[in-house]
C-alpha cells in the first residue's frame, strides 16, 4: 500500500488525515514542521506528500521548492492542503500555489480519499 507523508503545523489536521488515510490502509507518516517533513521525505521516500501551505517558519511552498530541487526527493508527488475552498482563491492566494495540485481541507472524507487514490493512480 502506498506511503503518504503529511506535513502540517496543525496537530489536529495531522491526526484527522492520518485517521482518514490509515483507515483506508495507507501507511501514514506525519511531520509538524517543514524541517522534519524534508528529512522524512528524504529518508522514507513516500509515494505522496500532503503539504500545508501556511506554516510558520518554512512554509509549504518553500518546502515544495526545496523538495523539487533535491535529487533525493524531486520525484515525489506533492499535493498542497489548503483551507481555501475555491479555485480562484487558490489561484491568487499568498502562497501562490496556482497551477499545482491541491486539496481543500473542507473536502469530506470520502471525496478526500477518492482524490488521493486518483492522484496516486496518476489521474
Amino acid at each position: 500500500m502506498a506511503k503518504i507523508l503529511i506535513v502540517d503545523d496543525d496537530l489536529r489536521i495531522l491526526k484527522l488525515y492520518s485517521e482518514f488515510l490509515s483507515n483506508e490502509g495507507f501507511e501514514v507518516l506525519t511531520a509538524g514542521e517543514a524541517g522534519i517533513g524534508f528529512e522524512l521525505a528524504a529518508s522514507e521516500s513516500p509515494d505522496l506528500i500532503l503539504l500545508d501551505v501556511m506554516m510558520p517558519g518554512i512554509d509549504g511552498t518553500q518546502l515544495h521548492e526545496r523538495l523539487s530541487k533535491d535529487p533525493n526527493t524531486s520525484g515525489i508527488r506533492t499535493v498542497f492542503l489548503t483551507s481555501l475552498v475555491k479555485e480562484e482563491e487558490v489561484a491568487v492566494s499568498a502562497g501562490n500555489i496556482g497551477g499545482l495540485d491541491y486539496i481543500s481541507k473542507s473536502t469530506p472524507k470520502e471525496e478526500f480519499v477518492k482524490r488521493i487514490n486518483e492522484i496516486l493512480s496518476g489521474k
Partner: protein
C-alpha cells in the same frame, strides 16, 4: 417712448436677482449690475475697466484649477462656455460658486467683442453636493473595509471548522470505534451543523468579494445545455425523495456560452434546490431554456409550489432574508443563495428576476446570459 423703454430695460437688468456683467476680450469688466455690486462687494467705479482676474475671479481656484486660463479662453471662445460652473471670489476673499451662462457679443464682422454673462450663486448647492460625495466615499470605503474583514474572517473561521467537521465525520462513521444510536445521531447533528456553517461562511465570503469588487470570473467556453441537463440529473435524487416530478424543456439552440462554469452551476443548482424546497410533495419543478431573439439565452426554473406573496417579494433577493413559511421553517438555508446567484448572473452581464402570482401559485425564476459572440 423709446427712452422710456430703455429705462425700463436698464432697470430690469440692474435690479434683476442675478449677477449680470459684461467684459471685453481682455477680460476687463465693462458692465456690472447692482446685484453683482452688492454680491461681490465692489462699487461700479471700483470694478469698471478692471480685469475680472484678481477681482471677482482668483487666478486659481481652491482646487488649483487655473481660472486665468479659463477666462482667457472664454473671451476668445465663449461658445464653449455657454453653461459654465466655476469658483469665484468676493471682495472679502471668500470663495463662492457661480453657475454662469455666457454669451459672446459678436460684431458685424463676426468677431467676438466681449462676453455677456449671467450668474447665480450655487455655493450652498455645491457644498451640499460635496458633502454627499464625501459621505458616499466614506460609505464605500467602510463597505470595502467590511468586505475585507469578512474575507479574512471567513478564512480564519474555516480552519477550526474543518477540524469539527472532519473529526465528527470520522467518529460518526464509527471509523474509530462503535457508537450507540444516540451518540451516532447526535454526532450526525454536529457534523451537519458544521457543514451548514461552512456553506454559510463560503457564501459570506463570495458575497463580500462581489461587494468589494474582487470577484473574478474564470471564463471558459462550455455547453450550457449540458450543464442544465447534468444539474437536473444531480438534483433528481432530492426530487424523488420529496416526491416531486421534474420536467425539462431545453431547446437545442441553447449552445456554447463563455462564462464561469462553477458559478453558473452554483446558480442553477441553487434555483433547482430552492424550487424543490418550496414545493410540497407531489408537486412539479421544471427547467426551461431557449435562445431568445437577441444573442442571449433565457433560462427559467419554475415550480408549482408555495409561491411568493407580493408583500414578501422584496425579500427574495435580499441578504439574510428568508420568507417564513411552514416549509422554510423545516429547512435551514443560508439566506444568501438567491442574492448571490443574482450577483453572479449580473457579473456575467445577465439579468435575474422572478415572477409569482401569489401564495400557492408557484414561482418562476428567470435568468439571461449572453451567448458567445460570433
Amino acid at each position: 417712448m423709446t427712452d422710456n423703454m430703455e429705462v425700463q430695460y436698464r432697470e430690469l437688468v440692474e435690479n434683476a436677482n442675478s449677477i449680470i456683467l459684461r467684459m471685453d476680450t481682455k477680460g476687463n469688466v465693462t458692465f456690472f449690475n447692482k446685484y453683482a455690486q452688492d454680491f461681490f462687494g465692489y462699487s461700479q467705479e471700483e470694478i469698471l475697466g478692471k480685469s475680472v482676474i484678481g477681482t471677482i475671479v482668483a487666478p486659481t481656484d481652491s482646487s488649483g484649477r487655473n481660472l486665468k486660463a479659463m477666462i482667457d479662453d472664454i473671451v476668445i471662445n465663449p461658445l464653449s462656455y455657454v453653461e459654465n460652473k466655476n469658483e469665484n471670489m468676493l471682495r472679502s476673499g471668500e470663495r463662492v460658486w457661480i453657475a454662469w451662462t455666457n454669451k459672446g457679443i459678436i460684431d458685424q464682422d463676426g468677431k467676438v467683442r466681449g462676453v455677456f454673462s449671467i450668474g447665480n450663486n450655487i455655493t450652498k448647492l455645491k457644498q451640499a453636493e460635496e458633502e454627499i460625495l464625501k459621505a458616499k466615499e466614506a460609505a464605500v470605503s467602510a463597505n470595502k473595509a467590511k468586505s475585507t474583514f469578512l474575507a479574512n474572517m471567513s478564512h480564519e473561521l474555516r480552519t477550526p471548522l474543518n477540524a469539527i467537521i472532519g473529526f465528527s465525520e470520522l467518529v460518526k462513521d464509527e471509523s474509530v470505534g462503535e457508537l450507540n444510536g444516540k451518540q451516532k445521531e447526535y454526532l450526525g447533528y454536529v457534523w451537519e451543523s458544521g457543514k451548514h456553517l461552512l456553506s454559510l461562511i463560503n457564501d459570506i465570503l463570495d458575497l463580500s468579494k462581489v461587494e468589494a469588487g474582487k470577484m473574478e470570473l474564470e471564463l471558459v467556453e462550455f455547453d450550457l445545455k449540458k450543464l442544465l441537463k447534468k444539474s437536473l440529473v444531480f438534483i433528481s435524487e432530492k426530487a424523488i425523495k420529496q416526491e416531486i416530478m421534474l420536467a425539462s424543456d431545453i431547446k437545442e439552440d441553447v449552445g456554447v456560452i463563455a462564462a464561469d462554469e462553477r458559478k453558473i452551476k452554483q446558480v442553477v443548482f441553487n434555483l433547482l434546490s430552492n424550487a424543490i424546497k418550496f414545493t410540497p410533495k407531489g408537486g412539479k419543478v421544471g427547467i426551461k431554456a431557449e435562445k431568445t431573439g437577441k444573442n442571449e439565452v433565457l433560462v427559467s426554473v419554475w415550480d408549482n409550489g408555495i409561491g411568493v406573496e407580493a408583500k414578501d417579494s422584496y425579500k427574495v433577493f435580499s441578504e439574510f432574508e428568508q420568507i417564513i413559511s411552514e416549509y422554510s421553517r423545516q429547512y435551514t438555508g443560508t439566506g444568501l443563495g438567491m442574492p448571490l446567484s443574482k450577483k453572479f448572473i449580473e457579473l456575467h452581464g445577465g439579468r435575474m428576476w422572478f415572477e409569482s402570482e401569489g401564495k400557492d401559485k408557484g414561482t418562476h425564476f428567470y435568468f439571461t446570459l449572453p451567448l458567445k459572440a460570433g
